[in-house]
């Protein structure tokens, strides 16, 4: 597992950061690359390994302004994976879904994701 993984944003992929030591993950920008599996593969497997460890609290800041349906599926799977990992334990996962008041599309996506998770503290934050 890579303790720290960071990728600068490109035309069709977002800025992503995973930091196991800081117990933190961040996505920001747009995500509409055709092959999301290839792009997110590494960070996803890092997250998976991390979730199996005995962390206390993990924070995920998600600040995407646009994402295609493949990304949406992947995000959902990630969230559900994290949700399962902390079920029945003392571990905490905080997801900050960061957007702006006028972005009803992203707000709605956030609300949809919020409905899917049970154990994650899901916050929709409007900047």
């Amino acid at each position: 597992m890579l303790n720290r993984l960071e990728k600068e944003k490109t035309g069709s992929t977002p800025y992503i950061l995973f930091d196991a030591d800081q117990h933190y993950m961040k996505f920001a920008g747009e995500s509409f690359h055709e092959n999301v599996i290839e792009f997110y593969g590494e960070i996803d497997s890092n997250l998976g390994e991390y979730m199996a460890t005995d962390f206390g609290k993990f924070t995920f800041d998600c600040e995407l302004t646009y994402f295609n349906s493949s990304t949406a599926k992947l995000l959902l799977n990630m969230l559900l994976g994290m949700d399962d990992a902390i079920a029945g334990t003392d571990k905490e996962v905080i997801v900050n879904w960061i957007t702006t008041e006028d972005n009803d599309i992203i707000i709605e996506c956030g609300e949809d994701f919020e409905e899917e998770v049970e154990n994650i503290q899901f916050n929709i934050i409007m900047k």
Binding site: N68, G81, D104
Partner: protein, 692 residues
Amino acid sequence: MLDGLGLETNEDKCVGCNKCIFVCPTHANDAYLTHEANRIHVNDDLCIRCGECMDVCDHAAREITDDTVRFFDDLSKGEEISIIAAPAIKHNIPEYNKLFGYLKSLGVKVFYDVSYGADITTWGYIKAYTEHGAESMIAQPCPVIVNYIEHFQPSLIKQLAPVHSPAMCTAIYMKKYREISGKIAFLSPCISKSNEFEDPNTHGMISYNVTYKELLKYLADKKVDLADYPEINFDNVEGSLGFTFSRPGGLRENVKLYLGSTLWIKQIEGIKNVQHYFVEYEKRVAEGKPVPQLIDVLNCEHGCNVGTGTNKTLEIDQIDYQTNQMKYKLEKRQAEELMAYFDKTLTYEDFVRSYNDKSHVQVKATEKQLEEVFTRLEKYTPAERKINCFACGYGNCYDFANAVALGQNHIENCFNYSQKLLHEQALEIHDKNEAIVSSLEYASKIQRNLLPARDAFDKSFHDYEVLWHPKDIVGGDIYWFRQFEDGALLCVCDCTGHGTPGALLTMLVATTLDSIINKDNYSDLGSVMMNLDKRMVEVLNVVEKNHHAGWKNTTSINDGADLALLCIKKTGEITIAAGNTHVFICDGKEVQDIKGQKIHVGEGLITSPEMIEISTIKNSPNLKYYVASDGLFDQIGAASGIPFGYRKFKSIINEKHDAALKDIFEEVWCEFEAHRGEECRRDDVAFVGFVP
């Protein structure tokens, strides 16, 4: 003994501008590719250490290597070392007496002025002319010139003055006549002196070449304040005019002082001037034509005071002023006495040096090799081989081709070739792009043909409008429609992806709907969804899986579709089943937003029709229905940086509710484009509106 080449390249700082190749007098710079980047390094076989590349490089990529650090290390280990200082020290380090105080405190034995050695050199030259039959001599204190002649013009070796340089004469004097033991370090303005001291013909008499540049840097790094040290003077007796050797014409001044103005002395500086002159000189010598008796020659245009081992910050007039002041103090009587003293005490043969022919046959590429390179460069005509621009640094296409043939350069360094390559690549890209686009445009025709014809809606609706705008010629969004006796089925479908992959999925959905829908089942929306899902799973070989069976699952997203099914019965009942697709119903006062279920078609998860949520609407005449794929709402705008959104859309369809759908759609698309601005399209758009 002496290590360090004198000059080396810092590859990290080099940017491959080729200026060093341009200024190098001996083609001693080789260009190579590293990670597709052009870099240049010194070719040690050919470098004469003239310093031109150091001057021209504005990336600080050419660095001095000398013996400064080794000198201080050895001194600290207790090595017995004496210092000799070039005349240039008086200008470069005016507080040199204090420097000597510092060096003495570190254990340096004695301090000798190379100006004294220069006087001995002068004496040796006079002896050469008056007693040893010298006719035409090339002065040799400049080691760059000696390097050049030994390596590139060995026929001139016999013209080189047979007397050692001032530094060497000082060392010989110290060892033989003053019996000073131990090693000698030279405080030096010149990187090429390292070569002189390494040469077998100087017998290892001087062990360290300590340049002022590196010395001053060393003192600064160690935070040495020379003011803290006492002044120490040179240990040698005072000499004569030897201190002028470090400026152009200094040697000439000295020789003239004793041999008078009848001696034909030529003074020349600057390696390119020298190269040019030596060609003529060699010819005249060979032909027995009159040539100067002494050629006072220096590599550095302004002399050793601003040589390759200095910081080159001194002003020439200041140097001359100071030198002249020192001259005025001198008396002719003093000079003559010195020469008489040398006559009495020194043996000429002790100060004689010889030279070696170090030239090797300059390998030149053969005609055939040149031809090969020109072919690779795609230079076929004489004009193309004579462009002679300076991009590669050579200024001559044949020289460049020669260098490439010998492995000293690479074809990518040729600007003309690179341009041709880029042009060819651009043409290839253009052709490929045209082929791809024309293929897509034909595919687009096929895709359009599978969309329902406009008149399919004619018989079914009072008003309707469709908008189908793929992102890239073909797209992943379609709409499907069929009218039956008692009703109709409309499907608006957004397949995963866009472009060609999306388009292939739309073909699958359309043909599947074609084959499974009939007059008996079209209104059973749950079954329609389930069967469509089943068919897609079959055709696309999807392995059924659960949503979250561990992390492995995330990395196998499969393809599918988000769609809305609307069954419009003639009775006025409208049923809706939708997965991740909004259906908007507007009555002119407000807009009802039927969000759709969170379910994807094509994942094998729709196992029974009952899983599908159905909404039922009782139609009334003032209602207008709208279904669109997310490409309409998710489009990021250039100015706002956020998506188009539902709010904007809902307000338009509500405000313009009374207009014809055609006008409403025009307004929506107009606003969409205004919002999008310069931003690229993110996704396909399929948008259908109808009034039952």
